[in-house]
Amino acid sequence: MGKAVAIIGTGQTKHGRRNDVSYPELVREAVKAALEDAGLTPKDIEGVVSGTMPSMMEGISDTHLYFADAICEVGKPVLKVETCGSTGQSIAHCGFYWVASGAADIVLVVGSEKMFEGDGQATMSTVADPWFLKPFSAGAPGVFTMQAMEWMHRFNIPEDKAREAAALISLTNHDNALNNPFAHIKITMTIEDAKNAFIITYPVRLLDVCPTSDGACAVIFASEEKAKKICKKPAWIKGVGFRGEEYFLGESNKSIWPSATEAAKHAYEQAGIKNPLKELDVAEVYNPFTYQEMIFYECFGFCPRGEGPDYVLKGTFTMKGELPCDPSGGVLCTNPIGASGLIRLAEAALQVTGKAGARQIDGAKLALSHAMGGIDQFNGVTIVGADL
């Protein structure tokens, strides 16, 4: 894994519809918060990594020109990384590798999206070619719903049981978001609301689906020496894993999702985790779709294959459960895409440093963060811990 690396500061914007600020102002809000959290000034930053969903989403394709001043990049080495929804984990890994290599001591990582400025679903359909894949897109939900249907079929999961579990996941996340000052969607809802909501792509309904959000997140990575000097309570990077998959949808079995499974396995090996359900204290799973969240639980070894709904229904992943997932309310309640994966990491870091406020899991010492991107193509996982 290279040299030890810690997170010494995180910052998030208030996520939601942010017509009150320009895009660079929004990005700066997160960067400023992260610098303040770490007690640093822009001069202390040695390198900058940033990314959004593919820049088609911004409508201004050189985001590094647009954000130059907001991400403190002037006079510094700069990297840009884009992997759709997993951008947040990709840029985090980039920052991690930069410091772990010993080439820099302090690196700023920034992810952002301002989705109310464009047409999110239409833009997402441009991630694929227009002759094979795009004609059959139904925004993001079409692909993810077919994945969920395949999963139910292959594991003989009764549709009613999956529906019940998905509704509980929706309720859990929406309840959790009420405790998160940064969250976008803050509503009080019931299981029945989730089950009767408008159908987007059958059987996925409105409350099974994430919103589009404006928001940004910044995370500062530091070497062991600097972290110990600057930060009272750093969050240490314990493991990173990332995997990609092939071009055509339909070539791998997404019900057992190889990239999600292998990315987690790789991160667990580095972190020395053998039984994630027992050893992890909290997880921030990238969960734009309730049904898909259950597939992640299985890929990450939180429960056996095909038993995601059973574990959900017995409350395993609620705030009081054995492994609380997404105390922040997750992507289901807040989704500025290019920031979402980095928000998962920032939230995990807040948890293991005891700074998560009303959404804190008592005594959390080891946390998983994750993001998924593309047409079911990418998965990235980062494990953080309270101890080096």
Binding site: A138, M146, E150
Partner: protein, 154 residues
């Protein structure tokens, strides 16, 4: 109330001319003749549809062409109810992951030929595991819509 600041509206329209290369060109030419072509890897023996010029698993050149079955099994499906900018069809429409007989991957296309307005009926006709068959458009343009949809077989 906080002041609502100004926004600026601008639309970007950009033309592209994408090259399909020899394999995808031949695949689309095949559709015009009501044939579905796959290519087979000599190393891993897998047949990929749509046809392509190199194996995604082995990275080998693919030059063995196969006129594959037009019937297959539905691996998964969904009924799309929500509309958004740029959609080819107006909802409701059904999408399926189709595994054509004798091939080694699934591919995505429309499921049709049935009444899609009633969800109950749709669920009776379309299930993972349902057998389906390609239905061709009368008008051919050497593109993916030369196949109109895949129809569930009873």
């Amino acid at each position: 109330m906080t002041k609502e600041y100004e926004t600026i509206i601008n639309t970007i329209t950009l033309p592209y001319r994408w090259a399909l290369g020899p394999a995808w060109t031949r695949f689309f030419d095949g559709l015009k003749e009501e044939k579905i072509y796959g290519t087979r890897c000599r190393k891993c023996k897998k047949i990929f549809v749509p046809a392509r010029s190199f194996c995604p698993d082995c990275f080998e050149d693919l030059d063995e062409w196969s006129d594959v079955s037009q019937e297959g099994t539905l691996r998964s499906w969904t009924l799309v109810k929500k509309s958004h900018y740029g959609q080819v069809r107006r909802p409701p429409y059904a999408l399926g992951l189709i595994h054509l007989d004798g091939t080694d991957c699934d591919f995505i296309h429309f499921i049709g030929g049935i009444d899609l307005s009633d969800l109950k009926k749709v669920r009776e006709k379309i299930k993972a595991g349902t057998r389906v068959k390609a239905v061709w458009n009368k008008e051919k343009n050497a593109n993916i819509h030369d196949i109109s949809y895949f129809k569930p077989l009873k």
